[in-house]
């Protein structure tokens, strides 16, 4: 599903954020990216939905070399990749329902699809009763559920999560991890960057560890370190 071949990415005048990375992730896998801040986890995720381009190497998503995509096709790549962030990136002026509907509207989904899909996904993430609330009226965990709902409403093949529990307390984080696990069980490939030792150790999934841009460990059913 995701394949990196000898990928190196350097930001201007800096040490490489990612160096000679070779990774192969199968469809339906759940993968943790671990490592210290600045070790290249976010760069890894940003390369996959082509927010960044590497200087060297090739990146394949669903069998296609995404570095060969012309820029007008990049949005179509991103429709197959959901993204979740530490800071949720919700639109404060829109309700929960509108935030999720927005993701479908801007890719031109017809109204009847929006009307059926949005309540269904909000029900799935446990926010069926808060559809008319605004983000500031929700707890951090609930806001992250909205952002996951938005990322998943279009049923992407891949879900990228950049420290999704970074702002949440441990109990809330567990709830979010259950949700991501549930999404993973539908066949969606999940790639999650995290600092959260207990989550990684509890889940026992594949772990890729980065140290200053280099992959130092790639372990199935791994632990944090």
């Amino acid at each position: 599903m995701i394949k990196l071949e000898n990928v190196t990415k350097t930001y201007k005048g800096d040490v490489p954020a990612l160096r000679n990375a070779d990774v192969d992730i199968a469809k339906g896998e759940f993968v943790f990216l671990v490592g210290a801040s600045g070790s290249g986890k976010s760069t890894f995720l940003r390369l996959i939905n082509r927010e960044e381009r590497p200087e060297v190497g090739n990146i394949y998503v669903a069998g296609k070399n995404i570095l060969e995509l012309s820029s007008w096709k990049v949005p179509y790549l991103r429709r197959n990749i959901g993204s979740v962030f530490q800071d949720f990136k919700l639109l404060t002026g829109k309700t929960v329902y509108e935030n999720v509907a927005f993701a479908l509207e801007v890719i031109g989904r017809p109204k009847h699809v929006v009307k059926t899909q949005v309540p269904a996904i909000l029900e799935l993430v446990g926010l069926g009763k808060k559809m008319e609330s605004f983000p500031h009226e929700l707890s951090g965990g609930e806001q992250q559920r909205v952002s996951i709902a938005r990322a998943f409403v279009n049923r992407p093949l891949i879900l990228l999560a950049d420290e999704p529990t970074g702002n949440l307390d441990p109990a809330t984080s567990v709830g979010i991890m259950r949700l991501l696990d549930r999404i993973n069980r539908t066949g969606t490939t999940v790639l999650m960057a995290t600092h959260d030792r207990s989550i990684v150790d509890t889940m026992r999934r594949r772990v890729i560890e980065l140290d200053r841009g280099t992959i130092v460990r790639d372990q199935h059913r791994g632990v944090y370190e």
């Binding site: 949005p75 991103r78 429709r79 990749i81 927005f102 509207e105 801007v106 990322a151």
Partner: protein
């Protein structure tokens, strides 16, 4: 790519209102600059119209009495033909004069109605060999005394002065308008940039969920074009106002030199279309530049 019209309209409207002061500034600058452009185009038209009788090197006109006899007219014609100082000349009979008159005053029918061909003077439009004031004066003195001649009007310097002055004013207006158009384009660019900044979070989300580039761009492009269109609509209002002013002058002073200072509806329409196209172009240009420069998708 399914582009939803209602979405686009809603987004464009929201952007415009959110940034009201900058939007108004852009629209006013477009309006003022295009008014100057339109005004200078109209001025050019009107001067051409006013000096229509004087085109093609014609330096003086021998007006006959409307009731001049055939013999008198032929005598003047013979004299013009024989004169070594005359390069060529053209005879305008009463019907031709009436046609020209109708042409000049087509926007003021009350003037045209008050005139019939038989009260208009037929005339000889003369191109002399030598355009010096002395030659023209000597020719004038010869013809003005001929029987049947009503008067001899020479271009002298007045026509030339008007032409030069209008050229100068026209060029001046164009230069000022050019700078203002540039300012208008930059203002539109900036207001679009502000709009994009105000909505940067939405843009970020749109990119993340895979909205197509044009879906993100079009509301901003429409906003720029809208500013250009409203600005040029104001300017077109000014253009029509200028036409009214010219018409009033013409109606007040029907036989002076300024009586020719009119523009017909066709010319006003042409000018309006030109102004509108320019407005749309600078709106599209400003926003296209803002979008390509600051909306990195």
């Amino acid at each position: 790519m399914a582009l939803k019209v209602d979405y686009m309209v809603r987004e464009t409207a929201t952007n415009l209102v959110r940034n009201l002061s900058l939007t108004i500034a852009s629209i006013l600058t477009v309006a003022v600059s295009l008014s100057l452009v339109g005004g200078s185009v109209l001025l050019r038209y009107s001067v051409d119209n006013a000096t229509q009788q004087w085109q093609g090197g014609i330096e003086f006109i021998v007006f006959m009495q409307p009731e001049a006899t055939e013999q008198q007219t032929q005598a003047v014609e013979r004299q013009l033909t024989e004169s070594t100082q005359v390069e060529r000349f053209e005879y305008f009979d009463q019907d031709a004069t009436f046609e020209e008159f109708k042409d000049l005053f087509q926007n003021t029918p009350q003037i045209v109605e008050s005139v019939t061909p038989d009260i208009l003077p037929p005339s000889f439009r003369v191109v002399p060999v030598d355009k010096s004031a002395e030659t023209i004066e000597s020719l004038r003195s010869v013809f003005v005394t001929q029987p049947g001649v009503r008067e001899v009007v020479a271009a002298f310097d007045s026509i030339r002065t008007i032409r030069n002055l209008s050229n100068l004013i026209g060029v001046g207006l164009f230069v000022v308008a050019g700078f203002l158009l540039l300012a208008a384009t930059l203002l539109i660019l900036n207001s679009i940039r502000m709009a994009m900044f105000a909505r940067r979070r939405e843009i970020e989300v749109m990119k993340l969920v895979g909205a197509s580039n044009w879906f993100i761009r079009i509301p901003f492009m429409l906003e720029g074009v809208f500013q250009g269109v409203i600005g040029s609509a104001f300017a077109i209002g000014v253009v029509f106002g200028v036409q009214r002013v010219f018409d009033n002058i013409a109606a007040d002073q029907r036989f002076s030199l300024f009586s020719g200072l009119v523009v017909d509806n066709q010319q006003v329409m042409t000018t309006s279309v030109f102004v509108m196209i320019t407005g749309v172009l600078i709106g599209a240009l400003g926003s296209a530049f803002a979008v390509s420069r600051f909306l990195d998708v």
